[in-house]
């Protein structure tokens, strides 16, 4: 009987790996659990073992090839034993007590790949599909921890609080989370935190770790630090804050920054783009959809303000409040976290100054917003006066954006932030 061994997921949610060398060749007879190949993924080099016993009749790829999980590797002729539940794939799943805000402890070294079957169905029980529907969660975005890649009830239950898709994780804000909130808030009633020994990462931490690792490994990014004197902006905000408040809107500096960055993205389309190294193409995005990194007790999320370039500052301010609340309440939907083309990460509220934001998803630029600090500065009469300086950190993908361009965009952004009147003229 012919059996086909497909690329297993040997690591935490590994999507692909390089076959560095074959340990078998066509014609070899192997026993179950014999090593058949050496595979390298982002983190480790590992031997993979055969789930079948029999004669190798075909090797699908050459050594050195990158293979996606699930792609065929070896064809066997022999007594097949299907690749299910072999030892190294044991799933330990413990469901936490049912209380709403408790985070289930899920430890799994099984697949974290979404498993969709041939006809497009997601492996999930009807009750799970209904819960996902109820919570507005697209099941295809949930990391499954169940047997054979099933999305379980607790995967969906903990999705809002626990899950963050790779492209939505932005590390620097996590720092803000830790600085700005009590440690208890970071993992409410989560599995007991051990201070020594090993502790499995939560799915969120794992997703962030993976995303950050991948972004850092693939994107040669540069961060330009700068600061801008924003007395006029502070005055502008002060004079409109009360009025906005009366309209039920909390006017924040972040709203101005979104508007200014959107305008900058319009002027410098290179920062509102994506790089496709497979085709050597640059994808310029028509819309400016601004990701806003928001931290919640369970992790960080990047909801998106769609068409930020076409919205007023008040509308943006309102949306920021709504989206942040949705994140904190756990009612944010995956739909609301999709489609960003450029991102802002705000450490200002946590009194952060400069930092090196890591680029989000398939984007090429991210603006880190620091706090506004009163600092001595020299005015046009050479007098030392008190200035209000906002700290800016712009990280960009050097494959697409060179230093000069990065700084030019930053300068323009500064101009807009320095004088809100400018925004009126330019945006």
């Amino acid at each position: 009987m012919t059996e086909i061994f497909t690329m297993p997921d040997i690591g935490e949610g590994m999507a692909e790996g390089d076959i560095t060398s074959w340990l078998v060749k066509v014609g070899d007879v192997v026993a179950m659990d014999d090593p058949v190949a050496e595979v390298q993924n982002d983190k480790l080099l590992q031997e993979i073992l055969s789930p079948y016993a029999g004669k190798v009749t075909h090797l699908y790829v050459d050594a050195g090839t990158t293979v996606e999980v699930g792609d065929p590797l070896i064809e066997f002729d022999g007594s097949g034993t299907p690749d299910t539940g072999s030892d190294e794939k044991t799933v330990v799943e413990t469901t936490a007590p049912s209380s709403e805000d408790e985070v289930p402890l899920v430890t799994s070294d099984d697949t974290t790949q979404m498993v969709k079957v041939a006809n497009g169905h997601v492996l999930a029980m009807p009750s799970v599909r209904h819960l996902a529907f109820e919570k507005g969660i697209d099941l295809t975005t949930v990391t499954p921890t169940g047997r054979h890649g099933h999305v379980t009830l607790s995967d969906v239950e903990s999705f809002n609080k626990e899950n963050v898709s790779e492209s939505q994780a932005v590390a620097p804000v996590e720092v803000a989370t830790q600085q700005g909130t009590k440690p208890n808030d970071i993992t409410p009633k989560a599995p007991e935190v051990l201070h020594e020994g090993r502790q499995p990462m939560t799915p969120t931490r794992r997703a962030i770790a993976k995303a950050m690792g991948a972004q850092n490994a693939t994107i040669p990014s540069v961060t330009n630090f700068d600061s801008v004197e924003v007395s006029k902006l502070v005055a502008h905000r002060s004079s409109f804050k009360a009025q906005a408040q009366a309209d039920g809107v909390r006017l924040t500096y972040l709203a101005y920054a979104v508007k200014a960055l959107a305008a900058t993205a319009k002027k410098f389309p290179e920062i509102n783009a994506s790089v496709d190294m497979d085709t050597n193409e640059i994808i310029y995005h028509e819309d400016v959809n601004m990701g806003i990194a928001v931290n919640a007790p369970s992790g960080l999320y990047v909801p998106v303000i769609m068409h930020a370039d076409q919205k007023s500052i008040l509308t943006i301010a309102k949306e920021i409040v709504e989206l942040s609340e949705a994140v904190r309440e756990g009612s944010i939907t995956s739909q609301q976290m999709r489609g960003s083309t450029i991102t802002i990460s705000n450490l200002g509220s946590a009194r952060g100054t400069w930092f090196t934001p890591i680029i989000n998803g398939k984007e090429v630029a991210i603006l880190g917003l620091g706090t506004i600090v009163k600092e001595p500065m020299i005015d046009e009469n050479d007098d030392i006066v008190v200035g209000q300086n906002m700290k800016l950190s712009l990280s960009y993908d050097h494959r697409l954006i060179d230093g000069m361009l990065g700084q030019a965009a930053l300068n323009y952004l500064k101009q807009l932030l320095a004088d809100p009147a400018y925004m009126l003229m330019e945006v």
Binding site: M1, E3, T6, G70, G80, T81, P82, T84, V115, V117, A118, N119, H121, V122, L123, A124, M125, P126, R129, H130, F133, E134, H148, G149, H150
Partner: protein
């Protein structure tokens, strides 16, 4: 609205009391609605009165009769078998149908559902007019569920009459006919043809397509057709029924096949060419409810029509006309009306069954879809001939076929031909709905000796570790 007529305010109305309507009524009442159900004929709709239930009763009689007059391999001999057909009819009507319909009436009563006998038509988006034997009544409703079902399609050149009958007529023939002609070899035509073939009638099926039992593949239908022919049945496919002439005691059907005119004469002509949704005479034109091009009501996933407080379920919505589909949708509509914003039809598999001599059942993907959609699947098939229980029942025709995802082994579809296919298919629907793999099935202990074990055997086959084959 009729001038001067005063509409009575009601909460939720349900029009039609078939498996869609009565189930929706009970569920809505369970969820706190004050429900009024309107039925112009009999509680239970087509399914209980003139459809699924009475047809299965007669199918059962056909099986028993055939068994009684057939030689058995195990030495049972019966002589002088007779069938009192009028007793059959009375049992079917009084015991089977009436037990069920009065049971449904009781359930409705238990849930304080008001039953109004009459024919409802919409006056506008908020009111229905109900024509009763002795007058009419106007109801102003907050929510409505339309569940008016379907009726047999009549071919103009062969209008229903004494000798040209629909399925209802075929279920209540006063005598077992000697010769029965059936136009339409779909599930209803084939099931009823099977009943009479088993009772000794010479049955001729005239079918327009090049195959009968549409929806089931050739491999599945072959044993059924072979048996039907063994019983003296005749099937003419790719044939067009042209016209029919009835006399006092016979009917002659003219049809064309291969460009040639032919005719066949029988005692009755059953026209079973499909069913038309009852959407035409219920005043939908006075509402903002929209129909699709195919004449069924356009509904969202929660069964809502274009009018937010009017829902539609069952045969009058798109998809196969099946009682269990109607009931499933009825529960969704009831939940939606009761304020469940999440109520949705999220099903993966809709099983379908034909109660032919060898039962046919399918759920999820079938051979046609895997071919047309180029799905990467694994197919495993296990014959009932390898199943101990089937052998002990002398009922070994048929097989179980599982279609599973090539990569994950998740079950995507299944077909069964043979004993208890109609009951066995539920396990496989459950498996599909829950994303179970063939391995999950083979790891589930199945009692021995049962027909269900054959499902386990088929799953083991898919896993590459078969025992019984």
């Amino acid at each position: 609205m009729v001038v001067g007529a005063q509409a009575r305010d009601v909460d939720t109305i349900i029009i039609g009391s078939g498996p869609g309507g009565y189930v929706a009524a009970i569920r809505a009442a369970e969820l706190g609605q004050k429900v009024t159900i309107i039925e112009r004929d009999e509680i239970g709709g087509v399914c209980l009165n003139i459809g699924c239930i009475p047809s299965k009763a007669l199918i059962n009689v056909g099986h028993h009769y055939r068994e009684a007059i057939s030689e058995t391999p195990f030495g049972l001999e019966t002589e002088n078998v007779t069938l009192d057909w009028s007793k059959t009819q009375s049992w079917k009507q009084n015991t089977v149908v009436n037990t069920l319909t009065s049971g449904v009436k009781l359930l409705l009563k238990k849930h304080h559902v008001d039953i109004i006998k009459g024919e409802a038509t919409f006056n506008d988006n908020e009111t229905v007019n109900i024509v009763q034997d002795d007058g009419h009544e106007l109801l102003q409703f907050n929510n409505a569920i339309i569940a008016t079902g379907s009726r047999p399609i009549e071919i103009p050149s062969m209008p229903f009459g004494d000798r040209i009958i629909d399925s209802t007529g075929a279920l209540s023939l006063e005598q077992i006919p000697e010769k029965l002609i059936i136009v339409g070899g779909g599930v209803i035509g084939s099931e009823l043809g099977g009943v009479y073939a088993n009772l000794g009638t010479k049955v001729t099926i005239i079918e327009g397509l090049d195959h009968t039992l549409n929806g089931f593949d050739h491999e599945m239908t072959k044993p059924v057709l072979d048996d039907f022919k063994k019983q003296g049945g005749e099937v003419v496919t790719s044939a067009t029924a042209k016209s029919a002439v009835q006399t006092a005691d016979h009917v002659t059907l003219n049809y064309e096949v291969d460009g040639k005119e032919q005719s066949v004469t029988g005692d009755y002509l059953l026209v079973a060419v499909g069913r038309r949704a009852n959407t035409d005479a219920i005043g939908l034109n006075n509402t903002d409810v929209k129909l699709t091009e195919r004449g069924v009501i356009d509904v969202a996933e929660n069964m809502q029509t274009r009018v937010p407080h009017i829902f539609a379920i069952g045969d009058i919505t798109a998809g196969p006309q099946l009682a269990h589909k109607a009931s499933f949708q009825g529960k969704i509509a009831a939940a939606a009306i009761s304020g469940d914003k999440q109520a949705r039809d999220l099903h993966y598999s809709l099983p379908a069954v034909a109660y032919t001599q060898f039962e046919l059942a399918t759920t999820g993907e079938d051979l046609e879809t895997i071919k047309s959609d180029n799905l990467e699947v694994k197919i495993s098939k296990f014959p009932f001939a390898g199943n101990g229980r089937a052998i002990s029942m002398d009922d070994t025709t048929g097989f179980i076929r599982l279609i599973s995802d090539k990569k994950t082994n998740a079950l995507l579809g299944a077909q069964i031909v043979g004993p208890s296919a109609s009951d066995l298919i539920s396990e496989l629907s459950l498996a599909i709905e829950n994303g179970l793999t063939t391995n999950d099935i083979s790891l589930t202990i199945h009692p021995h000796p049962t027909l269900g074990e054959a499902i386990m055997d088929t799953a083991e086959l898919a896993d590459g570790l078969p025992i019984h084959i």
